[in-house]
């Protein structure tokens, strides 16, 4: 039994010694890790994972966009109406008052015999609810289909905006869904306000292309007509793109829309002005050919986003599905327009919910300011610790520097974003990380005064301080995690640096310094100069 106890004691002794080596090894590894992985960010090397600077530091545009999904339903109704119109024209069915409203398409047929054909055709329309009584039809969407249309509008908007920005040629644009119906757009690399405006115009452009017949019967009266009067005839009044004074009376239901478009490119006309050529798919070409064939001598308006770009007279049937849009635009505008047309129309308009844009010069200034604060705070703490605790302070400072490198390394490795509040978080971590060493050093001093041996003072000092430091750090971590979960953008960056800083400080300020003390223990003992090592008065030690 006695021997067993003895051997157990020896085992315990050995295990503590093992732990001592263990600590300094881990600490050294941690420093190596910190130096190695923070190097790409600090030295700005070409290779290696680097910290991403937040938009508030590098400058750029952050937007949260909303989608007016209810309008997607409206345009769905309009396109159902357009296909009904085309179908009936094609099959020589006579219709009375075809009307599309926000959530309904209404029409009546004149010949009851046509009902069978119409019913057959309407079956093809997905998600439609058809109300058929006598000669009257009312088409609306099922609630599920309304939901689906709205959802579709959001995902389509995300897809479209992403396409447009990719073609615009900006570095690393982010387009992502946030929550259920918000779209997050982040554009670093925007340098000037002019660039920013161009990008915003490109994103928000509905790019809704419509080919609409001019109501030639009443076209002369357009300047004496109100919108309400026009609506009575199933018409709309639209302005000219270049000159808002010029107005056109157009049929409410378009011949076809941009959904049938396959390509759009910029070309130049005989006067060397940019024009946009677009091509229709086979269905579009068919509809377009049919319409132009039947309406020779009449005008057809090319309407983009509710503005009439041109309204040429149809001279002959146009097959092949190639259309040209001229307008008085610059090359840049024509390019952006072509991008927008190619990447498709937005099913529903989008609007600004939140925007943060920071100029690159302001970002650079923020970096400079927070670096000054960081360095200032750092030097202050550094000097204070050295003066107050002498060598113990130096050891704590080593841990502090290691902590900084580790924070940077971890952030680089995970590609975390460093924001302005994140910088503040690092500054604050300096203050907090040093706290652990203050607590430990105070404990060690206390124990030395009580006359404990150096070894005991260090071991007990760490053991006693450990509990308090752990509790304190965990509660701060709780606050940081909540901040991360509930914070947005820049604030998340603060939560990240604080959390990494706290976790790293456990490694550096507790484990690391402990390892250093353990390996220096003999030296400290031999020196017999605790005043130098711990900054305590010899007198009180007695």
């Amino acid at each position: 039994m006695q021997r067993l106890l003895k051997s157990q004691k020896m085992l315990w002794h050995e295990s503590t010694r093992m732990k001592l080596n263990f600590r300094i090894v881990i600490f050294t590894l941690a420093i190596a890790f910190g130096l190695f992985f923070s190097a790409p960010s600090l030295l700005n090397t070409e290779k290696g994972a680097k910290i991403t600077l937040g938009l508030d530091l590098q400058g750029g545009l952050h937007m949260l966009l909303g989608v007016k999904t209810e309008e997607a339903v409206g345009s769905r109704m309009k396109s159902i109406a357009a296909s009904v119109k085309h179908f009936t024209n094609h099959n020589d069915i006579l219709l009375d008052t075809l009307k599309a409203s926000e959530d309904e398409v209404k029409f009546s047929i004149l010949d009851p015999d046509d009902a069978v054909v119409i019913d057959e055709m309407l079956k093809e329309v997905e998600g439609a609810q058809i109300n058929h009584s006598g000669l009257n039809y009312a088409i609306s969407l099922t609630p599920e289909s309304v939901e689906a249309t709205k959802k579709m509008a959001i995902s389509q908007a995300i897809e479209t905006i992403r396409n447009r920005l990719d073609q615009f040629g900006l570095a690393e644009p982010t387009v992502a869904r946030q929550g259920t119906e918000k779209i997050l757009v982040e554009l670093p690399g925007i340098k000037t306000q002019e660039d920013e405006q161009r990008a915003r115009e490109l994103i928000s452009r509905a790019a809704k292309l419509e080919l609409i017949a001019v109501d030639e019967d009443r076209a002369m009266r357009v300047y004496n007509m109100t919108d309400a009067q026009a609506a009575q005839y199933g018409d709309v009044i639209l302005e000219d793109n270049e000159n808002p004074e010029v107005k056109y009376l157009l049929k409410e239901i378009p011949i076809l829309d941009g959904g049938l478009l396959t390509n759009a490119t910029v070309a130049f006309d005989q006067n060397n002005r940019p024009v946009i050529n677009f091509a229709l798919n086979s269905e579009g070409a068919q509809i377009f050919g049919d319409f132009t064939g039947k309406n020779v001598g009449k005008r057809m308006a090319i309407v983009l986003d509710g503005k009439v770009y041109s309204a040429p007279v149809i001279n002959e049937r146009i097959g092949g599905g190639h259309v040209q849009v001229s307008g008085n635009y610059s090359v840049n505008e024509a390019n952006d327009l072509a991008i927008a047309l190619r990447s498709g129309a937005l099913l529903a308009p989008i609007y600004m919910m939140e925007k943060r844009s920071v100029g690159p010069s302001l970002g650079a200034e923020s970096i400079r300011n927070s670096m000054v604060a960081l360095m200032g705070g750092f030097v202050l703490v550094f000097i204070f610790m050295m003066v107050y605790y002498k060598m113990a302070g130096v050891i704590a400072n080593i841990a502090l520097v290691a902590n900084l490198f580790i924070i940077l390394a971890v952030m680089s490795l995970f590609g975390a974003t460093l924001t302005l509040p994140g910088m503040a978080g690092i500054v604050l971590t300096v203050g907090m990380a040093v706290d652990a060493n203050v607590i430990i050093s105070e404990r060690i001093r206390e124990l030395l005064y009580e006359g404990k041996s150096l070894h005991k003072a260090i071991e007990e000092g760490y053991a006693n301080a450990m509990r308090a430091i752990l509790d304190a750090n965990i509660t701060t971590l709780i606050a940081a995690v909540v901040l991360y979960a509930y914070g947005t953008g820049a604030i998340k960056g603060f939560a990240i640096t604080i959390s990494i800083g706290i976790l790293a400080s456990m490694l550096t300020a507790i484990l690391g310094t402990h390892g250093i003390y353990s390996s220096l223990e003999e030296k400290i003992n031999k020196s017999k100069n605790p005043a130098f090592w711990f900054g305590i008065s010899k007198k009180r030690l007695g």
Binding site: A472, V482, I536
Partner: protein, 323 residues
């Protein structure tokens, strides 16, 4: 070097009545300020628009006012200097939803002819986002406190948890009072600062409580106030040193961190001072008043020890196969 010789225990608890009066006065006047003046919510929480303009030379604020006033969009705009004479902030209560032509573009046009300038920042927060951020903000403060309450109750005892939460409410209230007094813009970063205060002030409280917990187990004295005095005295040098270093770090942040994190720095500055004070003079006395009793704590701990010992015994027997 040493500031505190801690040869003698300082009678903190004897001063606790005075401290309590000070605290109550401070907290009540903070609530008074919050109710009369209220917090000056910035764009993040209230919604609205901010445009930051930097001029090459001193900003011609009067000229800017007259030129902007002719534009409908800038009705009720406040135009103030920001950090330096050549930098100006235009604040609007409204937020436009237009993406293609936003307030930055309009400002650029409206200010033409006032000199060479650059628009360096445009923040637009719509009402919906503002409301959401406010709700989330309040929620995060509550959740953080709840999380802390549970953790401290688990690690210490419920009275410790209640005392630390009261101290936290005390700190956050006073910090918010200071915000109402100075009418500093309350934005997301200020919320982050308030949450940091929670964590920081709790740090201090926990370090003191940890010593009290230790003191209770070690001491022969059964008078809680003596144990508290002794523990607070023992941690006094740590509390002061850490607070000082943190204070100086925050001070550099406040002074050199730039205009944008000014309010963040200010909130923290207030929080560090109040948090240090409260860990000594608020949290500990409350522990006393909540009727924490050393004798019953001892007996509870003893019972716990017995239970654990029994469990160990059972396990040992189990492992030896006697059960």
């Amino acid at each position: 070097m040493e500031f505190f010789k801690q040869s003698k225990t300082i009678g903190f608890m004897g001063k606790s009545k005075l401290a309590m009066i000070i605290s109550i006065v401070l907290v009540l006047s903070s609530y008074g300020l919050l109710m009369t003046k209220g917090l000056n919510f910035g764009v993040d929480f209230a919604g609205g628009t901010i445009v930051q303009v930097q001029y090459e030379k001193t900003a011609p604020i009067d000229k800017m006012r007259t030129q902007l006033s002719s534009n409908e969009m800038f009705k009720g705009a406040s135009i103030t200097e920001f950090g330096s004479p050549d930098e100006v902030i235009i604040r609007l209560k409204t937020s436009s939803k237009d993406i293609s032509k936003d307030v930055g573009d309009v400002t650029r046009e409206a200010l033409k002819g006032t000199g060479e300038f650059k628009i360096r920042r445009v923040d637009i927060v719509g009402p919906k986002v503002g409301n959401e951020l406010r709700e989330k903000g309040a929620m995060s403060l509550l959740l953080a406190m709840l999380g802390i309450l549970i953790y401290v109750a688990f690690r210490f005892e419920w009275r410790f948890a209640v005392a630390s939460i009261i101290a936290l409410i005390h700190d956050v209230s006073i910090a918010m009072g200071a915000l109402a007094l100075t009418q500093i813009d309350v934005n997301l970063d200020v919320l982050a600062a308030l949450l940091t205060i929670l964590g920081y002030s709790l740090n201090d409280t926990i370090i003191v409580f940890d010593r009290i917990r230790e003191g209770i187990s070690d001491t022969k004295s059964l008078v809680l106030s003596d144990v508290i005095d002794e523990s607070v005295t023992k941690t006094l040098s740590r509390t002061t040193l850490t607070s000082l270093t943190t204070f100086f770090v925050v001070l550099t942040l406040f002074m050199f961190g730039g205009e944008i994190i000014h309010s963040f720095g200010f909130t923290l500055l207030v929080g560090v001072v109040v948090g240090t004070y409260s860990s000594i003079f608020v949290a500990s006395p409350i522990l006393l008043w909540l009727g924490f009793d050393i004798t019953s704590y001892h007996s509870k701990q003893a019972q716990k020890a017995i239970r654990n010992a029994e469990k160990e015994k059972m396990r040992a027997q189990f492992e030896q196969g006697t059960i």
